[in-house]
Structures are given as structure tokens and as C-alpha cells.
């Protein structure tokens, strides 16, 4: 057998073996992986929309959101995945809203790579809890170095104005987009 034929055979063989082996591993692991992801999604949705027990995935104008129902089946809120740029990189959020989108019921930071101890504190509960009950009309705002006064205000993290501002603007932008779509 000439080396060239051998070359072709060997590489093709190894590539297909690899494809085969992996597909088998994948077949076994994919249910677990999917379940994991689903679990996570559920957790975040139920976290930001307190009374929700179940949800429907909806898509409008390429915007995905989750309509949440309680045991009775009535709509108790909307969970909206949102993303945008922070200080260091992309921030992903889940935002819980009342069905009429007028108030925030909770937010959860899903992914962020802000500076630990600084912008990273947007992932802390004390920051996220501030958003409960905040009004979205006309827009969420942040204040610095003082207690919030209005219903639309939250307090920015000291030394991380930019991360805080990013969260606020991500929320505003995504809610606006959803509103426009609906």
C-alpha cells in the first residue's frame, strides 16, 4: 500500500471513528445535559417571578420570553432574558416583570465577568433584591452615594457605577424592546 493511500485511509478512518464514538457518548449524555440546562432555566425564572409554578416559552419578533403561571394557571408575570455589555464584558440577566410590565418582580444575573469584589457584586443578592418592586415607567434609574427616593430608583454599587449603570440600561432596553414587540 503506498503511503498516500495509507494516509487517506488512516485519517478518514480515525475521523469517522471519532465521530462514531462521540455520537454514542453524546446520545448518553445529552438527556442529562438538557435536563441540567432546563433545571437552571426553571430555577432562575421561578426566582424572578416569585409565585410562578409553570411557564410557557414565547417568541415575538425574535424576542424570547417566558410567560409564568401559578397553580391556578393565571398569568402571574413575565420572565425576560436580557443581555448587554458591562464593564468587562457581556452580562446576561433574567428579569422578572409583572404581567403588565410596569414593575420588576426580581432580577437574576446569570452570567457576568465583572471585577470580583467590585462590579462582581452585581451578582450579590443585596444588589439584585433592590430591583424588587421597582417601577419601569418611565425608566429605571440609578443614584450614587445616597438612598433611592423614587420608585424607579436603585442605588449603584460604590466604585462600580459602570456595572450598575449597565444593568439598569440592559433592563430598560430589553423591556422597551419587549413592549414595542407586544
Amino acid at each position: 500500500m503506498s503511503t498516500r493511500v495509507k494516509m487517506i485511509l488512516i485519517l478518514t478512518l480515525f475521523a469517522s471513528i471519532s465521530g462514531g464514538v462521540l455520537s454514542i457518548v453524546y446520545l448518553f449524555s445529552s438527556p442529562l445535559i438538557e435536563a441540567n440546562l432546563l433545571e437552571e432555566l426553571k430555577k432562575s425564572i421561578f426566582l424572578v417571578v416569585p409565585n410562578a409554578k409553570d411557564y410557557d416559552e414565547k417568541v415575538i419578533d425574535e424576542i424570547t420570553y417566558f410567560e409564568c403561571r401559578d397553580e391556578s394557571g393565571s398569568t402571574v408575570g413575565i420572565a425576560l432574558p436580557a443581555r448587554g455589555n458591562g464593564y468587562q464584558g457581556v452580562i446576561k440577566l433574567m428579569v422578572g416583570l409583572t404581567p403588565d410590565l410596569s414593575r420588576i418582580t426580581g432580577i437574576k444575573v446569570l452570567e457576568q465577568i465583572e471585577t470580583p469584589g467590585l462590579g462582581g457584586r452585581i451578582g450579590e443578592d443585596s444588589f439584585q433584591n433592590q430591583f424588587k418592586g421597582v417601577q419601569t415607567e418611565p425608566a429605571v434609574e440609578y443614584v450614587k452615594n445616597r438612598e433611592p427616593e423614587k420608585d424607579t430608583e436603585i442605588q449603584a454599587i460604590t466604585g462600580a457605577t459602570i456595572s450598575s449603570r449597565s444593568i439598569v440600561s440592559i433592563i430598560n432596553k430589553n423591556i422597551q424592546m419587549l413592549k414595542d414587540a407586544l
Binding site: G19, L22, S23, Y26, N85, Y87, Q88, I162, S166
Partner: protein
């Protein structure tokens, strides 16, 4: 506009070497002389651009089209490895000068995280074809920038009284740390 931001981000803000930690091995290995740093930088930029294009195509027309996402790593890497090998052979045959300047660095590139990292990040971020290529070029230029600056510093330090134990890779890493500190000034440049 989006394209420009992607470019600036890849070069300065999220420099592959200094903030994503990709391609550190060649960064340390080939940054001792400015000439080789420039050559290596060109070679990496070239391969990054090329593989940005090809992996985008694979992602779109094989992985997504055939719904076999788990083949991502295998398919990217086999293509990149073969591609680099092919380019090396090609350059070697066609131009001796080009081979001496770039070719000898090519085998190093196959085992360079930057190449696969680029493919994975690109796929993760849903870039369009053009965006992906710009991302590749930006990452390559960012890599070259870090490499050449480091080479300049190391050539300077060659003449300095650096403590014996820190000579070579150790001081290079520390300088990379200081460079990363300096690059932190650019953080927030794309988000603000």
C-alpha cells in the same frame, strides 16, 4: 460600527493574550527577538483570519445544518491542523524567504490555543461571517501587538541586570502581568 467595536475590543480591550489567556505558550516562546515576534505575529494573524472563515463555514454548514454540535472541537481542530500543515508545505515550496520568515512558526501555531479559542468564541457569539473574520484579524493584531511590545521589552532587558532566577520566562510572565495591568485602562471602552 459593530465591526469596528469588535476589532477594537479584540485588539485592546479583550486582548487575546493579556485578558483571555490564549496563545500564551508562543507568546512566551517567541517574544525574545523583535524580528521573530513580527514574523510570528504575521503568521498567527494569517492563520487566525483563515480559520475564522473556515470554522464559521463548518459551524454553519456542518454542525448546525446536520445538528451535530458535539463534533465542534473535533471538526474545528482537524481542519485547522490540516490547514496549517498545508499552508506550511505550500510556503515552503513556493518561497524560501517567506518560509524562513513565517513558515518555521507555523507548526507552533497548530498547538496554539488562540486558534481554537477564536473558533469557539466566534461560534459562541453568533458573529456573522464578516464579523467573524474581523474578529480573527483583530485577535491576530492584538496578539501581534502584545508579542512585539514584549519582544521590545525583552531585547531591552537583555542588556539589564535582571536577577538570575527571573531571567527568561519568569520575568516575561511578570512583565505580561504588568502589561495586563496597563491594558486594564481600556476596560469599559466598548460598553460605555
Amino acid at each position: 460600527m459593530e465591526v469596528i467595536l469588535i476589532f477594537i475590543s479584540a485588539v485592546l480591550v479583550n486582548n487575546f493574550v493579556l485578558s483571555y489567556f490564549l496563545g500564551i505558550c508562543p507568546f512566551i516562546g517567541v517574544s525574545d527577538r523583535i524580528e521573530s515576534a513580527v514574523s510570528m505575529g504575521f503568521a498567527v494573524t494569517f492563520v487566525l483570519t483563515l480559520s475564522a472563515a473556515i470554522t464559521w463555514l463548518i459551524n454553519r454548514y456542518i454542525l448546525i445544518a446536520l445538528n451535530v454540535p458535539f463534533l465542534e472541537y473535533v471538526s474545528y481542530i482537524i481542519v485547522i491542523a490540516s490547514l496549517v500543515q498545508f499552508v506550511e508545505m505550500f510556503i515552503r515550496k513556493t518561497s524560501k524567504t517567506l518560509y524562513d520568515a513565517l513558515g518555521i512558526y507555523l507548526p507552533l501555531i497548530t498547538t496554539n490555543c488562540a486558534i481554537l479559542g477564536l473558533a469557539l468564541f466566534g461560534a459562541l457569539r453568533d458573529y456573522s461571517f464578516i464579523e467573524n473574520i474581523v474578529f480573527g484579524i483583530g485577535a491576530g493584531i492584538g496578539f501581534t501587538l502584545a508579542l512585539v511590545v514584549m519582544a521590545g521589552i525583552r531585547e531591552e532587558l537583555d542588556l539589564a541586570d535582571v536577577p538570575e532566577s527571573l531571567k527568561g520566562a519568569a520575568i516575561t510572565l511578570i512583565i505580561a502581568g504588568l502589561l495586563a495591568l496597563a491594558f486594564m485602562g481600556f476596560a469599559g471602552l466598548i460598553s460605555a
